[in-house]
Subunit: 246 residues, 2 copies
Amino acid sequence: MSVIETADAEGGVSLHQRILSDISEKILSGAWAPGHRIPFEHELSAQYNCSRMTVNKALSQLAKAGLIERRRRSGSFVRQPQSQAAVLEIHDIRVEVEALGLPYRYERVARHKRRSDAEDRALLELGAAGPVLALECRHFAGKRPFAHEQRLINLAAVPEAVDEEFLAIAPSPWLIGRVPWSEAEHRIRAVGADKRIAAALYIATGAPCLVVERRTWSAEHPVTHVRFTYAADSHTLVARFRPSQG
Amino acid sequence: MSVIETADAEGGVSLHQRILSDISEKILSGAWAPGHRIPFEHELSAQYNCSRMTVNKALSQLAKAGLIERRRRSGSFVRQPQSQAAVLEIHDIRVEVEALGLPYRYERVARHKRRSDAEDRALLELGAAGPVLALECRHFAGKRPFAHEQRLINLAAVPEAVDEEFLAIAPSPWLIGRVPWSEAEHRIRAVGADKRIAAALYIATGAPCLVVERRTWSAEHPVTHVRFTYAADSHTLVARFRPSQG
DNA sequence: GTGGCGATTATGTATATACATATTGAAACG
DNA sequence: CGTTTCAATATGTATATACATAATCGCCAC
């Protein structure tokens, strides 16, 4: 390798930028699937004939953007690609269904109390392990399933949920009446239905679904994480706003 | 300055991180107003007793986050608060793509001026027939299509759009700079890709997609209707809020 | 087996250095 | 007087190096 050789004659783009876009191209194109281990820093620096620092700069940015996950001693791995933006609005399913003029019905499918596992903690953004309540429910519009609900409740924040079976009342209205929320985060995306969702919503596996995930905090404490899944033809989120000034 | 003196005994947080948060604190608190020139890299490196590279790392991140603007030979300056209405920022696709660290590219696929048909009037909520501009565009992240855009512009509300080809600039930024909007409505849903969308986004027919439609009004006049379609694996909308009313 | 423990390894952060690039301001020139 | 040139300056990108840190692997003792 030459000493201090600047500007790799790469059309104005800096090297770490080129490395970055090469790798993200591989990821977004699917050539490197989620879970795939991307080459080590020292391998890439050999491949691109540059220093490890340059590779590190690119990989750090990819990690910050959420495309890859880095693990010491193990390497860097492709994550589920996702970009971020913001949208607003909150919804109550009973109200939505009744607005359609259809009879609403609620069904609790499952309920488990357990000590939070790693996935639970990730979903709730919990630091330490603790008791959680896991719920699975369905919401019907007329005879058709309208939405599937998977929910986690942090029992450290809402201990009285232990005594509720959620057979007659859905978790959302129960929580809203009890726990004032100070912050909420929504994630909205499209997915293909997996087998479980397909069965729950009476649709084909792989059929497009809208997924709305919501995380709620009350005074800095994570309260609940919920994932609603709707069949594509059953649901449109609507949000109206006026501009706010800076 | 000492030689290779690691871990400045600063409670686990890295130095560049501390510099970054110190400066953003100054900016967000208002102590350094927009337009204020923040200290030069060499001044900060003296102040923090560290190398210029470390300061550079912090400032580069601040620039990428949009808090400051850097000008060669002149220094770094606090930017005007970018608190554009959440909605606008949301669907500025260029910003989303660049936040991923990927090169953004825009392409106009088609442009037609016509008298509004029934479908156009439904989409724009127009009462009477009138001239509209129909556009089809694509937004790329790296080499992959990131979003497909179908747009209608009400020429009665924005007559000067007739003279714009939209080859170099995308409709969103063009409109934002020209037409103040007073109200917007969003509709978000999942669909299976039809043939046209599948071809445009390099995905299979029927593959799940996220569709975001936006209608905008300016002083009661419908301005534009736009439909963005994203491949399922490329996009997640994220929104955080605090309760403002109820 | 299995439980601990040290060696190994990949990433994380920092350093000093080198040169490129863009921009500014002032000096030199026609 | 305007223009051109040039040096100074701040940022931009890259290098080689050094050491910290965390996680894993394999070895060894029990």
